[in-house]
């Protein structure tokens, strides 16, 4: 794209994609902003005119707001920690030469192909059910009282289900990163007298830092908006009401579009704060 001519040609050919993308992003954003300044109750009178920042103050002063932000952050943080730690361990394991490697790798990736709704239901009914669930049977086998997962350890359960879903993604990215590590570096470290654990901390982990950064960034984007897993399991009760879920309840259960839209704007702000924060911590390893 050196010449003036080819540059303008490129611009013209990229235009449709850019316009579609802009529309895709701008229309919902504008509509959210528009409704957030309105009193709009579809079943109770419809559009009742402008209200200024009323929706914003009401959303933030609701007793459900802070707990929902907290729940969101706990779920995102918990899933990130679990998937990254287990992902690194699994990737190390899968990198070892072993019998049936191909099949094992496919099995590890499999959960990623299960739809969130399905995996939520499978976990709820087949694993976590306090009467018939597999975990309940396991607990009983050891003579313990089965845990009522979704009501007594609700956040942990959601974190567990979501981690199970996202672990394959983390593992896959980290595995390819491990495979790109120059074997001679490990051998050099071995000759330099580094035992396996030191080789991991001094050679493998720094090599993985970039991949870990990518995993964290991508997962955060998706995890901030998880919904199906909560919808089909606890339906937002027992302290699992995330910001996304709260917005859903405001719009569809309370039929208050204006209030929900204001929540949506807060969600955008929260996502950006988290993103900036992460970029600060994690982005550094992306530069080098």
């Amino acid at each position: 794209m050196a010449t003036h001519h080819s540059r303008s040609a490129a611009r013209m050919m990229m235009a449709p994609a850019v316009i579609v993308l802009l529309g895709w992003m701008l229309i919902p954003l504008t509509m959210t902003l528009y409704f957030s300044f309105k009193k709009y109750l579809p079943l109770r009178g419809g559009d009742l005119g402008w209200t200024g920042f009323d929706n914003y103050t009401r959303f933030i002063s609701s007793s459900a707001f802070l707990p929902s932000v907290q729940a969101t952050l706990i779920i995102v943080g918990g899933v990130l920690v679990i998937t990254v730690v287990l992902g690194v361990l699994l990737a190390l394991l899968l990198d070892q030469p072993m019998w049936g490697q191909g099949i094992v790798r496919v099995l590890v990736i499999a959960p990623f192909f299960v739809m969130p709704t399905v995996s939520g239901l499978v976990w709820k009914n087949m694993f976590m059910d306090p009467v018939n669930g597999l975990l309940a049977h396991l607990w009983k086998f050891f003579g313990a009282t089965p845990v009522e997962w979704l009501s007594h350890a609700s956040l942990q359960s959601i974190i567990m289900i979501t981690s199970w879903q996202w672990l394959p993604f983390a593992t896959l990215i980290l595995l390819t990163a491990i495979q790109s590590l120059d074997r001679e570096q490990l051998e050099a470290a071995e000759m330099d007298g580094a035992p396996p654990l030191k080789r991991f901390t001094y050679i493998i982990l720094p090599h993985l830092s970039r991949a870990i950064a990518v995993v964290i960034l991508i997962q955060t984007i998706f995890l901030l908006s998880i919904f199906a897993e909560i919808f089909v399991t606890t339906a937002g009760s027992f302290g699992t009401r995330t910001l996304t879920y709260l917005i859903y309840q405001r719009v569809l259960e309370s039929q208050n579009v204006g209030l929900g839209s204001a929540g949506g704007v807060y969600a955008i702000i929260l996502a950006n704060i988290v993103a900036i924060f992460l970029m600060r911590i994690v982005g550094k390893s992306l530069d080098t």
Binding site: E184, E187, A188, M191, D192, G193, Y202, I203, P206, T288
Partner: protein, 334 residues
């Protein structure tokens, strides 16, 4: 310290035997070079000595002690890899200090040793850079620095210069030789470049397909190669090898004569031939001569100032004192 003995060491990968049982002794303080064509098992042999690869049979002894089951870190050997294998996320200082940190030396001692090594290798100005910000030759020196700080029993080099350009290679060759003279530590050096082997080695080990063809000093190998393979491999340009009726005159299957032991003249009664390409190096000229009586072209070393045109007729006389004779199996007979 630093005597390495291989006793009937062999190595197979699965069912393919890469190195049949071989015996080899590398004396203390010696500069030994493993040389051979690509894929002949040089790196494998070096890795067996380093302990990065398990032997399939035989015993590796270091300083008289059986080291076959000793892990690489405990063998007291330092290795310089072909790819340098520097740690990309650590500064040069940390790279060089790494083996010392692993050995849990105290901070001031580490600092001292790293700075000593850096000044020996002219790296003092680069200590705070990352490997990615260095040139190939500098990276090479960092890799050597990382090896020398440990004060090992022996150094193992696996084709350390093959990624450098020709001029730098000559320079680094000298530096490594000098380092060897200064440290007087055993060094084992793998290369497929016979010039490196000839210029650096106290002892050359010529390998082919995992088998040791000959062990000896550079001049021994040059003067009396034990077989046709060594004859063709050592010396640059290559020895001329002739078969057929010329060889039969000396009761041999093959005769060999080095380019420097042939004399070219315009009016003699040696082998008659036509000059093909001539390569002028300044100090010497290498002529490729197609003789009338036999097929292979002869390479002849002549005076640098000699100017013969393409297609000129010449006569070539071999120096019979330097004629190498080989039998049917390629073994030396005289």
């Amino acid at each position: 310290m630093g005597r390495i003995v291989l006793d009937k060491v062999s190595k197979s990968f699965g069912t393919t035997e890469v190195i049949p049982p071989l015996d080899l002794t590398i004396e203390e303080g010696e500069f030994a070079v493993f040389v051979g064509p690509s894929g002949c098992g040089k790196s494998t042999l070096l890795r067996l000595i380093a302990g990065l690869e398990d032997v399939s049979g035989g015993v590796v002894k270091i300083n008289g002690e059986d080291a076959t089951a000793v892990p690489p870190a405990k063998r007291g050997l330092a290795m310089v890899f072909q790819s340098y294998a520097l740690y990309p996320h650590m500064s040069v200082r940390k790279n060089i200090a790494f083996p010392l940190r692993m050995a849990k030396l105290d901070k001031s001692e580490i600092k001292q040793r790293v700075e000593d090594a850096a000044s020996v290798l002219n790296l003092t100005d680069y200590l705070d850079r990352r490997p990615g910000q260095l040139s190939g030759g500098q990276r090479q020196r960092v890799a050597i620095g990382r090896a020398i700080v440990r004060e090992p029993e022996a150094f193992l080099f696996d084709e350390p210069l093959s990624n450098l350009d020709a001029a730098l290679r000559v320079g680094m060759r000298l530096e490594i030789s000098e380092l060897h003279k200064r440290l007087a530590t055993t060094m084992i050096y793998v290369t497929h470049d016979q010039v490196e082997a000839m210029t650096m080695a106290d002892k050359i080990v010529v390998l082919q397909a995992g088998v040791i063809e000959q062990v000896g000093s550079p001049l021994e190998l040059y003067r009396s190669p034990r077989n046709k393979f060594v004859a063709g491999f050592i010396g640059s340009p290559k020895m001329n090898l002739l078969e057929g009726s010329e060889a039969a005159r000396y009761n041999a299957h093959t005769i060999g004569i080095r380019p420097e032991h042939l004399t070219v003249s315009t009016d003699g009664n040696g082998w008659q031939g036509v000059v093909g390409v001539s390569e002028h190096l300044g100090s010497d000229t290498f002529l490729h001569v197609q003789c009338d009586d036999f097929e292979p072209t002869l390479t002849v070393r002549a005076d640098g100032e000699l100017d013969l045109d393409y297609g000129a007729r010449v006569s070539i006389t071999p120096d019979l004192n330097h004629l190498h004779l080989f039998d049917h199996d390629g073994q030396r007979i005289g």
